[in-house]
């Protein structure tokens, strides 16, 4: 199968890139002075967050396309992106928390970025719950498209609100802006590329699973209904 081969190439390529990234993170990138070695979480944390965001953007675009074209393909792509976005956001929240513990001495702070990630996670988990609650395919696709659009419109507002909410209050521990050395940037770029490839792989396989389910339903329908 051609798809299979492409998948394999993608998985191998992203794994190689990821291993390179890990190698570079530990042996090439300089250790950050203030935060020490924990700062290295950042090289995974940021690409994860970026890919999660990309997922939600793809879901938004697919939602619009579904409503315009009524092609179930866009629903499948959209739902695959949201699911992967939620997986990535979960990992963002966990890595963020593991960073916060040694640096800020707490598992969780209501820091703007953490707060907005959590709200996004809630919105898109709600999307998945909605998906599970609607039986009929076209109805489900329409509702999920609407939810993906509304959710994505909310993204900038969520970021804005989390930021404003905090800046009014004195923040006890401010997140320090990280001075990026050139070496750090190149490591980050490789890590980003690795995650992008991995993300593409996941989207491909995840949406193919749905396409296959669709195909199975059609085949079963033909079987049951005799000749079509």
């Amino acid at each position: 199968m051609k798809d299979d081969l492409t998948d394999r190439i993608l998985v191998v390529l992203s794994s190689v890139l990821m291993l390179t990234a890990v190698y570079m993170i530990f042996f090439y990138a300089p250790t950050e002075r203030v935060m020490g070695i924990v700062q290295k979480i950042f090289y995974f944390h940021l690409p994860l967050a970026f890919m999660a965001f990309l997922s939600y953007f793809v879901a938004f675009v697919s939602g619009v396309l579904y409503l315009v074209k009524k092609d179930i393909k866009w629903d499948i792509i959209g739902s695959a992106s949201v699911e992967i976005g939620v997986v990535f956001t979960t990992l963002v929240l966990i890595t963020g928390s593991l960073w916060a513990r040694p640096i800020w001495n707490t598992w969780w702070t209501w820091d703007p970025r953490l707060t907005s990630s959590l709200i996004l996670w809630l919105i898109y988990v709600a999307y998945i719950i909605l998906r599970m609650s609607v039986e009929q395919a076209e109805r489900r696709a329409t509702f999920c498209a609407v939810m993906a659009i509304v959710g994505f419109i909310d993204v900038p507002i969520v970021f804005l609100s989390a930021r404003l909410w905090r800046t009014i209050h004195p923040v006890v521990i401010k997140s320090k802006s990280i001075d990026m050395e050139p070496a750090m940037i190149s490591v980050l770029a490789i890590s980003m590329a690795a995650f992008l490839l991995f993300w593409i792989t996941l989207i491909r396989i995840r949406s193919r699973v749905d396409f296959m389910e669709l195909r199975i339903r059609n085949l079963e329908k033909i079987k049951r209904g005799g000749m079509e």
């Binding site: 719950i129 909605l130 609650s133 076209e138 509702f143 609407v146 509304v150 507002i157 969520v158 909410w165």
Partner: protein
């Protein structure tokens, strides 16, 4: 516009006859005020910002009750089919239902807010005009998102459970703005210092009322 008013009048007439939406909203709101009093420790004096949180939690949770009803009303006897075959635009239905929800919220808030002041009013400055503005702006944003989502959940089998699950994550920014603004009103801060929160609330309402207006067509046709 004509159809909007016709639907609005019909829904209000039905509510006047049945009264159950508004009464359950008011009762649940007051119930929540009591429960929250227990949660923070009976008799404890609350600072303005916490008080604002208590007020809005009560109002928001009670308003969800009314929200679910407005749309399920059209589903009994499939009245919604009557609207769908008619030349009425779904967006007029959206505006009408939005106004219905706004009025239900206003009526229940007219009872819940005075009760709130009676229970928690000790440390709170009362400024009616800005408070009213906050209430109206919150209602606007809440019911715009809520009307759209109640259209969605009315077509699912888990209407009551699903609606708050979809609604609350999306309106968290609005809740944040509202609580912030109200906290400062309660603290007696001059208007200039919290007016930006009100502007943000208005922006939220505008964005989602436009989104709802455009998206409601698709939602209603799936009902």
């Amino acid at each position: 516009m004509g159809a909007t008013l016709v639907i609005l009048r019909k829904d209000l007439l039905i509510e006047i006859r049945r009264k159950d939406s508004v009464i359950s909203m008011i009762f649940f709101g007051i119930l929540l005020l009591f429960v929250m009093n227990m949660a923070i420790g009976i008799g404890r004096k609350v600072d303005p910002e916490l008080a604002a949180g208590i007020l809005w939690i009560s109002i928001l949770f009670s308003s969800v009750l009314g929200l679910g009803r407005t749309f399920s009303l059209e589903k009994t006897n499939r009245c919604i089919d009557g609207l769908l075959v008619s030349p009425v635009a779904p967006s007029s239905v959206f505006v009408a239902k939005n106004l219905v929800n706004l009025s239900f919220m206003l009526i229940s808030e007219a009872v819940i807010i005075p009760v709130f002041f009676a229970l928690y009013g000790d440390n709170i400055t009362v400024r009616l005009a800005p408070l009213l503005a906050t209430v109206l702006l919150l209602n606007f944003g809440f019911s715009s998102v809520g009307t759209l989502f109640s259209g969605i959940t009315a077509a699912t089998s888990r209407n009551e459970v699903l609606l708050p699950l979809l609604l609350f994550p999306v309106i968290t920014p609005l809740i944040a703005f509202t609580v912030k603004a109200t906290g400062e009103i309660f603290a007696g801060v001059p208007f200039g210092e919290y007016s930006s929160w009100l502007r943000l609330m208005a922006a939220f309402g505008l964005i989602f009322s436009c989104a709802g207006y455009l998206l409601f067509d698709y939602v209603m046709k799936e009902n």
